[in-house]
Subunit: 341 residues, 4 copies
Amino acid sequence: MLSFESDYIQGAHPEILNKLVKTNLEPLTGYGFDKYCESAKAKIKAECGREDAEIFLLSGGTQTNQLVIDTMLAPYEGVICADSGHVFSHEAGAIEFTGHKVITLKNEYGKINAEQIKNYMSVFNADENHEHTVFPGMVYISHPTEYGTLYSLEELNALSNVCKDYGLKLYLDGARLGYGLMSCGTDVTLKDIADICDAFYIGGTKVGALCGEAVVFTHNNAPRHFFTQIKQHGALLAKGRLLGVQFDTLFTDGLYYRISKHAIDMADMMRHAFIEKGYEFFIETVTNQIFVTLTDDKYSKLKEKVAVGFWEKLSDSKTVVRFASSWATTKEDVDALINIL
Amino acid sequence: MLSFESDYIQGAHPEILNKLVKTNLEPLTGYGFDKYCESAKAKIKAECGREDAEIFLLSGGTQTNQLVIDTMLAPYEGVICADSGHVFSHEAGAIEFTGHKVITLKNEYGKINAEQIKNYMSVFNADENHEHTVFPGMVYISHPTEYGTLYSLEELNALSNVCKDYGLKLYLDGARLGYGLMSCGTDVTLKDIADICDAFYIGGTKVGALCGEAVVFTHNNAPRHFFTQIKQHGALLAKGRLLGVQFDTLFTDGLYYRISKHAIDMADMMRHAFIEKGYEFFIETVTNQIFVTLTDDKYSKLKEKVAVGFWEKLSDSKTVVRFASSWATTKEDVDALINIL
Amino acid sequence: MLSFESDYIQGAHPEILNKLVKTNLEPLTGYGFDKYCESAKAKIKAECGREDAEIFLLSGGTQTNQLVIDTMLAPYEGVICADSGHVFSHEAGAIEFTGHKVITLKNEYGKINAEQIKNYMSVFNADENHEHTVFPGMVYISHPTEYGTLYSLEELNALSNVCKDYGLKLYLDGARLGYGLMSCGTDVTLKDIADICDAFYIGGTKVGALCGEAVVFTHNNAPRHFFTQIKQHGALLAKGRLLGVQFDTLFTDGLYYRISKHAIDMADMMRHAFIEKGYEFFIETVTNQIFVTLTDDKYSKLKEKVAVGFWEKLSDSKTVVRFASSWATTKEDVDALINIL
Amino acid sequence: MLSFESDYIQGAHPEILNKLVKTNLEPLTGYGFDKYCESAKAKIKAECGREDAEIFLLSGGTQTNQLVIDTMLAPYEGVICADSGHVFSHEAGAIEFTGHKVITLKNEYGKINAEQIKNYMSVFNADENHEHTVFPGMVYISHPTEYGTLYSLEELNALSNVCKDYGLKLYLDGARLGYGLMSCGTDVTLKDIADICDAFYIGGTKVGALCGEAVVFTHNNAPRHFFTQIKQHGALLAKGRLLGVQFDTLFTDGLYYRISKHAIDMADMMRHAFIEKGYEFFIETVTNQIFVTLTDDKYSKLKEKVAVGFWEKLSDSKTVVRFASSWATTKEDVDALINIL
């Protein structure tokens, strides 16, 4: 059956698998100290354009968010995010599990803005009882957001400035970063992100890897003994090569960008078809996720032929569903979908 | 260079990689609900010989220990283990991170016995102030142990009985379980373990997989909403297929046992060579790990040609090192080692 | 200077202090096993009218909320409360510190209603991905609320019913419970609360005690080994008598109710004076807290002569302040205040 | 019945109660910002002889240990203590509850020494895998120890030096500090302790207060936002005056020392009587606790007339019990005990 359920329904991009096969018998030291991890980190560092960046490879997105937020915050601090933020809504309380409050601001199409942060911090500082409350210590944003939208460079700079004004760290969840970087609707580069954020991660799982996210602490600001804290959180892989080989491949010959560009192209094809056929968009996006509002009748029929992602029940008779493209989406898949629509 | 540093210096057994390649393009649902995960679980269940077993696939050993111990214990309970136990000594405090004390008993060659547990519980119960202390809730053992030793069936049954007497759960860390099962020095089968323990895990990372451990709750006793708790601990992989395909392959045509048997055969060859050449064993083992005491002089020379695992500094002039075999160890490797010894 | 800053600006009601003095030299066993703790618990149980109630004495409100919520919830559960709820806004993240998310619903004058809970749970259950989110396990309400308002018996019953429908525990924070019970604007008794809630606490600190809150688990449902969990949370007093003597006194000859009634009478006097003098109420209350909106000019002048509680900055030129009465508020104090207004 | 069960069987020293009564009606601001808290802190600071000391008042010993250890340690650090240490054995896992491992060294009569720490740290540093283990971050000692013994000034200085060498904080649990300071068997003063330790607490609960411990961070090293962290741990009292008045009184006219001296004198009387009557000491102490080994027969008879503290079951026929004196122990009590012995 045709599937646009998500961008992680297939395994890994063939180049990655090939490299895993090719390097399989090499004896390598464990826990991320092998040459492929080293090479991957060096390449990512170069792409970020920062000599002072420190990179760590982890397995999944929730794990990464939990670790980065927990280790960058002081114990009495919480993290500010959009009320649509993944860490608030879809990580089963993984942040609170480590003792930190998630403080929400109302999202607009998945985004929050500098003005909101400024207002929140002004009220916080003006509150004579604020020592009885959680201290905001970080702003979490996702780019692309959970709704597939993107921040502009101006918006990111504004967020960064307000964070600096109030002593907040800025952390960007890049689970689908590639699709953001290769969207035609963006003016933000990887180097910009490395300059603007205190930490961010480059998502692998949803951009062609079997698993893996590359955390970047941008200016020699990795939390102390981060390696030990990875282990303490249960997140250290013995065969670190699994992550090293994958990211080394993703950042060789621009594979990460090529994968992302392909997915964007496929999504654009789908987007045009939806417009032509008069479908209603739940939200307008410029990345690899398309959110469409369907009548339940239509949804039922569609489900017989195409797997899509359930997003939310909008009303008694309408449902929002998500179509996602990836490296593995073919033009034939998209044509087949268009025929069904 | 020749390496016997550990049983995780190579990637995955080729059959596993082949299967990953072969199934790579199939669109599968995420988070462990795909057919390979289902198939892997069904096969493991059959091997355990228990209809009421529940199986979950996780990424690594420390992660597994943390999750199982944290979710099976009540919040006021701690886990009893040998003072050589991995959860006590080499997991960076991952158990305490989730709020639980690790209570140690003196190990004998990596093992603890029923009598020790009985004594501990007798003292605990006789202590009029024991409500001011941590309640023991579980016994953790590793099999093979951190020293490569094994429990006999009689010993496991005795542990199980004392656990039942005192209301303790029995949990077995099987990071290297295959090597234990295939050792000629054992009378314990996988079915025995499934009958005797409340929970255990079948190690994949150190027995041929790229990553992955299969947790078995043996009698419909998986902690409530364990799936959500996996996510909450940051341990859920989006592409659950990575674990499903690996364990499905490991438990097809007895690959898990074949890998283990091969490693045992290679270790036996090495063991005989050490004996013949008059090496001093730090401890006698019957599994795939061999611990040898070397003079520092000898250690220095050896290190030039062979990578081995540092175990501990025994005295000013002696060091204990570990030689480990795996599926990837060849007869040629062992012969080459013997020539160097 | 005149002070209406809060209901905890003085020490303890004289009858309590007298009893502490009178019993001071009696040798008593520690940790809450003394006869005064026993007597206090028996009297509270009788007032609740439930043979199956279990009572524990703790030191403060945040401590009590943290302990009750943490020990009654499963690890993967969160607590639902009003976005004005004390546990959400003014406990420095004490709930998240123990690993649980606080899930907020929009308050109306400090209250939430059964319909809101029903809607939240319907959406939760309809969400196909809800296993990736925090499971709601409890509803927290405060009575009186943080705004001094009260639930009606009908509202409490409706909350209880919806909680039962969805398997949620109902917990009531009674930091100022006495003032709620003695307000002329209520139809809710202590027995009603004991019948309706799964757990609640009777506030002592803000109703005449030096410190202390009495937790009531209403139907043999105290969390297992709650005593040990009190200790584990750092909340156990060696001299349990301090709490026992205070609550024993508060529940002898209706002192708790007398204190509360007096404070209500004083608040009513103040309320009438505010009305007569044309002050603007921020919210209408029927308990011992009165919230008044002042121009900043007025606020500045008032502060010179009367200590009041800062509540919030309403706009650039207006501030909400709180006037609170207590057992120690005298008619003379109120008359003096009225002269100043 | 005569009772030597513990040093917390009576309420508060009368001077403390008097002061609570006398100040009861004064309106004071909450949460420890009142003048009595200020005064108490100033007096303690003066007694410590350090301008850079920062003092906080908390309710109980376990609470204090939990807060100080959790907030002074980095998240990946553990605390080293004697295997007889209160935080290891009798606090229901309160330290692990906050995520930190308690690392034990074998005690000698309740004490550990500099050499043991040095050895532990040498092994830790020499371990090539120590990044997989918990980093020691603090040494916890109790003075007097749980066995009533004391460190000499030389021993404390040696501990301090080794802590500095290895970057460990030194924290002293002074639950019974007064008895240590006033023992004739000591050469250690409060000023010494303030100079030597990074943090310590002056116990109130067991030295004449109803409740309360005064934490001293000795050199402007209080953890950031410690006030908020007190609240976050559920340990903040609304009526901070309860602690302020008590410690202000304890440190007025040397009451703390007088109480302690009296208890020591009473203990010395008892000690001599035990010697004269040929009783067997379990351990030799110089403070207010006396540990005696009794046959079970003797224990049974004694219990009919005197309440004592159960310490441990030594063998099938012998039990160790504790006799403790306090401010409330009278010469008549001791004479009565001697007649019974």
